[in-house]
Symmetry: C2
Amino acid sequence: MDTEMKSFSITPVEAGSLVTPKGFSAAGIHTGVKRYRLDLGVIYCEVPASSAAVYTLNKVQAAPIKITKDSIAQEGKLQAVIVNSGNANACTGKRGIEDAYTMRKETAEIFEIPEHYVAVSSTGVIGEFLQIDKIINGIKKIKALTQVKFDAAERFNEAILTTDTINKRACFQTTIDGKTITFGGAAKGSGMIHPNMATMLAFLTTDANIEPEWLQKALNQVIDVTFNRITVDGDTSTNDTVVVMASGLANNVTLTDAHPEWDRFIVALKTTCEQLAKKIARDGEGATKLIEVQVKGALNDEDAGKVAKSIVGSDLVKSAIYGTDANWGRIICATGYSGANINPDTIDISIGGIQTLKDGMPIPFSEEEATQYLATENIMIYVDLHLGDGFGKAWGCDLTYDYVRINAGYRT
Amino acid sequence: MDTEMKSFSITPVEAGSLVTPKGFSAAGIHTGVKRYRLDLGVIYCEVPASSAAVYTLNKVQAAPIKITKDSIAQEGKLQAVIVNSGNANACTGKRGIEDAYTMRKETAEIFEIPEHYVAVSSTGVIGEFLQIDKIINGIKKIKALTQVKFDAAERFNEAILTTDTINKRACFQTTIDGKTITFGGAAKGSGMIHPNMATMLAFLTTDANIEPEWLQKALNQVIDVTFNRITVDGDTSTNDTVVVMASGLANNVTLTDAHPEWDRFIVALKTTCEQLAKKIARDGEGATKLIEVQVKGALNDEDAGKVAKSIVGSDLVKSAIYGTDANWGRIICATGYSGANINPDTIDISIGGIQTLKDGMPIPFSEEEATQYLATENIMIYVDLHLGDGFGKAWGCDLTYDYVRINAGYRT
């Protein structure tokens, strides 16, 4: 990413967030669905923004996903995203659908925009009905809060968290047609909310000028190598959603793949998604370390991605890294069952800067040095398959006692 | 299985083992590859036995797998299987292949049989060369031990274990053409051996009369619903192997699918494999419980199997069961991402006798009763998809602190 960032002149905005791109405001509020913490957030755009989204591949999908799909399908435009935490509104049948429509309607009314300009998202407990009255009260109050600029993005970020331990935001800028284009984002990750599974939500904003269909194409392309490359425990939730809104207020020439700076737009969007994805992986339940696997020399990029995901998803690799054990045997094993084309006799593996395997055979290395490296917080694993030019990355976290503790904990 | 066993008159033999079928003997010996425990085992058949095998799908395959494939490919007959534990002879290149051939040659010589009547199997550390001299010494002594009948199967079983906590054996009988046909088996399971991954090995014996090609067909059919339906951590090792040998000494009419009792043969073989598979799952690393998932109402058996495996493979489900939490939300979630055809609105879920979900919606149940049930050692999960007649089972174990402890433990 760093090389790409340099060659495409993409720069991070340290204090930036999803309200840094022109046209966006946000807020977070406490409605009482959760006992103490903020539990309802909104992103608002002063103009109808070109919008695109991707959703969980789980065949059991929560009610709000249906409503968001319906909204975006109509014009490809959104002006508001309303998100509650504490309750996922999943496995809630007809009433769940009605509740999600109610969230949309109330948000549209308070912001005085068409209903289909509103997306709805939920995360939290499965199989319980929303306390819809509390949420309606929250929606009625939340518009006023979007006028308060101080800490607005932080409050939105906090409102969408479940057992996440940190807020996750990203902001990058680049130049297209001589105009500054800003990308912002907020995400919640793989914290389990009692009593159910982890959900990944990400909301991206930009002031780039782009039509919905091209925004969807860009998002699809970028998702595959960012959010689809992280794993905490292999479970795919019922609520996973990534939404991107583009206000167009940067006034660049409308972006399509015929635009000479299309690639720069793609890399900037990818950079923003990758940062959020890495923050989600690092904050996996019970995690103490971020693991990044880079695979090169695959027959193609898809195969490289398969190997990277297979390694970073292996409980045996994850446990070994928790235990600071340079266990390359588990890494080659996960390479072998990844489904990618490989030749066992041409595989090189390095853990950080320490090479452990060459041409499929172990080579001597300093266990002490390896242990020292594995005691750090950002672990890199490099695999070279020596078959072609395919390259891919994936991110995950270590498997710890705390993962078991968090997920074995009986519901209170 | 129980219903099938009754309708096909298949009976367990309590004290039986892989030497109960006519023609087989076995032994286990300590060669010094492991410090204290038995580490070399042999199964010997007094006649060339029709043989078949299946192997790991991992593209990184240990050296002995190549040698066993070569042996069986020649005539489909085996008279001896030599197995060492403590070292997997994987990622050992040319020298590993040579060592595995040496094991085959030495075994053939001592038993005075052709080399291609010998299969070779290894389990243990990856990436270290075999201490082949110790193993050769062991092979030279092991033939004499096959004459000792007392505890022979137990000693073989022990010699193939790694971090398994119990010996795993099975024995069943049925009647074909009025003759008693016996099936025996031994397995090692999902104990990790320092410093590498779990390996599954299973060796089956029978005195049925059957040609190699039909034995292979039977094994393929049975493997899919037994050994391929267990999971401990989703990692597939480089050494996984299942071998079956049929001495023919029961003198039934040669079995093919045209034989009127072919189905009985299949069910008896399946019953033996299923018992070994369940013992492997129950003895997964750190496990305190066996989990069995039964799925019915799928569009077809394949889909039922997908759902069952997805549930039993979910870290979130496994952690919840460790924590005695009747977390049906994680079960429906794993159903949704299984890849099988499902309708979220027609799913029923029961945990033991306690129904928690009907038509995709939660129904009230006694948490106390559920917790009591989940504190037992054999956990049943029932899923009904209400779409068709497809049925399938899968087995696994809970995810515990001890799994992490065992797998994070630094290599000594």
